[in-house]
Amino acid sequence: MSYSKAKVEEILNNTISRRSFLKGLAASGVLSALPGGVLEANEDLNTKIPYSGEKSYQTFRNACPRNCYDTCSIKTYVKDGVMQFIEGATESTYTRGGCCVKGNSYVKRVYSARRLKYPMMQVGGKGSGTWKRISWDQAIDIIAKKLLEMKKEDGTLLGAALTKYSGNFGITHYGIEGMFNSIGYTTRLAGTPCWPAGIDAQNLDMGDMWCNDPEEMKDSKFIILWGVNPAANSIHSMKYIYEAKRKGAKVVVIDPIFTETASKSSQYVQIKTGTDGLLALGMAKIIIDAKLHDQKWLDANTKGYKEYKAYLDKEVKLDDVSNVTGIPLAMIKELALSFAKAKPATIWMGYGMQRHTNGGSMIRAIDALVAVSGNIGKYAGGARYGHLNTWGFNYAALSQAKPEGSVGYSGPEGAKGEFAQVGGEKAAYTDRFLNINKTARELMSAKEPKVRLLWVACKNVFAQDFDRNQLIRAFQQLDLVVVADQFFNETAKWADIVLPVTTQFEEYDVNVSYWHYWLSINEQAIKPLFEIKSDLEIAAMLSKRMNQLQAGSCTFPQSVDTKEMTIKEFNPAIYEQFGIQSWEELKKGPVKAKAVIPFADGKFKTPSGKFELYSDKAQELFGSALPKYLEVRQPYDKFRMTSPHSRWSLHSQFQNLEWMEDFHPEPFVYINPDDAEAKMVSSDDMVAVFNRQGVLRLRAKVTDNVQKGTVLMYEQHYHNSIYNVNELVDDTSSDMGAFKTGAPGVALHDTFVNFKKL
């Protein structure tokens, strides 16, 4: 039995007929095929769906497009047009048949009663909560007219701003930027809150951010997991780390927090936050003094070893290293020497470490340590951070011509972001770039023309950007805020118009990872529910309406098919890299890029062609050619607050789902026992955590997983809760990021707070 899309929608829209629909299915025996629980069926019905045998399902290939190391390859099981369950693809040795707690909640995400279903307009004004359902035609008409009106009044479209980031990293989602490209020169919130300081650091050192295949770690003899927590945030990498450990490798975790990963390591070394760069320099000095460095490799492949060594000799005092990092000197020596003796050895650096005012300098210092040990360009070695080596798509959806006669910004051009650096043509005008990490401030201060329209896609601004109170003011002064999302989140609450967008199961796309080397196709497994549309379809509708109102005002295709757009992203180089003839082969399962060891040929894309321990570019941009130790931001309140990623969510996604609430219903602040005692706080007490930016109220957990002087709260966003750790974070920049991503990062973990028992 199957139903037409219209029929299913009609039924789902109407409570009474939905009930009889489900009952009807029960009577006809099809109920087992319909996830009653998922569709919030009435309580008389059996909500358990049995597994009915491989052959009874239609299967589709999907991928998890979230901002996650693992970018899992997914197999989706569908029956009668309804998603039943998913599995990780077994073809990928990386995903190996399983997703994570978040991926496994996807069925609920698609069918959640909390999903946005129709375009809506906040008729009572932003934040009023008075919404009206409108049609797509109405929504698009309002937006199109506003754009054209702005263009007429301002003479440009720079008053229209786009903020889009990592909500969906599928390649065709760059079509959202494509939509903005296709209307003229506009304003973009550029940069990345994620990993920019580290990207710059690696580019300065090696001319690229390029890491070894994580699967090689199984053969590493010594692994340092430096400020990275794969046990929570890259769970599929753990099997390689475990395998190495089983084969006798030492796994050392250096982290201010006793993380999930630390609990499974051979050695945990707690370091004082923000001093990692000095530890790396000290270790390098110890290695060189013991003559355990790889002189031959350094001579052949580096620039500035002499200057670097002179700096270590003169400025880096081992007693200082021990005092500043808080780690006994004997332990540092032991760690340095055993790391240097093991071959191959590798260091994996997390993204948290570079979210400090000295973050980029710390990554540079660790890169240098790996170089000194001779582990760059080696199988199972490497200074691992991330890579974009498999991202060479066409970005066809992104690349749209400007309408004829478009007028833009004539200031200097900045980089547009880390992923799709498509450019080429040097035009008289460019888009205007505002720093994504200072969104509130920049939206308010942009002049001539001022920003009047903001389009939010693949991003939850109120969750991920900083300084909520300023953001509210910034949003209120905008004429029109459009939010395209799957859920009615905090940002949607400050929108004028919300547009419901598809999940990856309702559209075509293609996905790669910034960590592993697999490629997955994402097929449309089910028809979009309700009136939901893909970001690309929305762009096409906008183009159609704008052209009706003013011919030639938008160059985006006026009708799109996500499958056709996906096919357009492939090119011979991608086929060659992945050893396939056609994208269709991906329907049989994900494929892996041909193995390459980064920098094994000794070729670096730096100005000198070598690994630059001494970088003129770094001198020019950041005032230090060497990876010198830079002191971290000074405290401005009693306790450091650190806000790492939780296993339950990916930024603002997943924690809001009904099923996730079963496992993790509420946020906590984690406090060291000494600090808790001083403040007379015990586990389960309600506390207020506050600073000059804001205040949060939540329950405490007392644990020495966090060190004295630090409180930890996860970055998480709950359904119907105002908890948002970024409320306490100011927008102070990290040292690097502007070189490759257009704007510096944010020193998130240099936030300071106080707390008290309520």
């Binding site: 597994y51 190996r96 399983g98 994570c100 707690v101 609990s263 945990y268 780690i327």
Partner: protein
């Protein structure tokens, strides 16, 4: 044969992938979870709102341990007991023990919702679905296993911290049947089949000095 879960607390990440994989497969209602990743040192049944455990106090509990919060876990579902209380108590035969595999299955379509199994199970493994007024629990994905697939939870675990073993295979004889640090009726007459590998702390741990 007695199929059983072997849970390895020394490598379990506490990632809850397994527990969500079960919901993904069967769509348990909000508030019902057949598999729970139990935190060593902190957790007790009281916080599991779906368990009714009047009988628990009469069992010997696993020893308490002090381990860092939110770091060590055992992932548990139904124990597929050799002498299952749920099967014994069910008045309509909704619970059965498969003579071949030893899997304790529950057939919800027969269940009358008397709640006997929920009360009789010393482990809180049989859950009561208040929405439906019936019990439900892990049936070790027997339908999947019959097709040659493994269970949803086992397949999903990123580090093989849960595996399925045959308890009657002599090579598993030495495995422990007692966990640590969680509420678990270790001497239950139901003879739970779950086996445990205990977690341990890293050999070397350095924490910042106080002050």
């Amino acid at each position: 044969m007695q199929k059983a879960f072997l849970v390895d607390g020394s490598i379990c990440l506490g990632c809850n992938t397994c527990a969500m994989a079960c919901k993904n497969q069967y769509h348990q209602d909000q508030g019902v979870t057949w598999r729970k990743v139990r935190e060593i040192g902190a957790e007790d049944y009281l916080i599991d709102n779906n368990n009714i455990l009047p009988t628990l106090t009469s069992y010997q509990k696993a020893p308490k341990v002090s381990m860092p919060m939110e770091r060590f876990y055992f992932s548990l579902a139904c124990n597929h007991c050799e002498n299952p209380a749920c099967v014994a108590i069910c008045p309509v035969g909704a619970h059965t023990k498969d003579p071949e595999t030893g899997i304790c299955k529950h057939d919800q379509s027969i269940c009358i919702g008397c709640g006997g199994c929920v009360k009789a199970c010393p482990f809180g493994a049989s859950k009561f679905n208040t929405k439906m007024g019936r019990a439900e629990k892990c049936s070790m994905c027997w339908e999947r296993q019959e097709e040659g697939k493994t269970t949803a939870c086992v397949q999903s675990c990123p580090v093989h911290a849960i595996t399925i073993i045959d308890l009657h295979d002599p090579k598993y004889k030495a495995l422990r049947s007692d966990p640590i640090g969680i509420d678990y009726a270790i001497d239950a007459e139901t003879k739970p089949s779950t086996r445990f590998i205990h977690p341990f702390m890293p050999k070397e741990i350095y924490r910042q000095a106080k002050g």
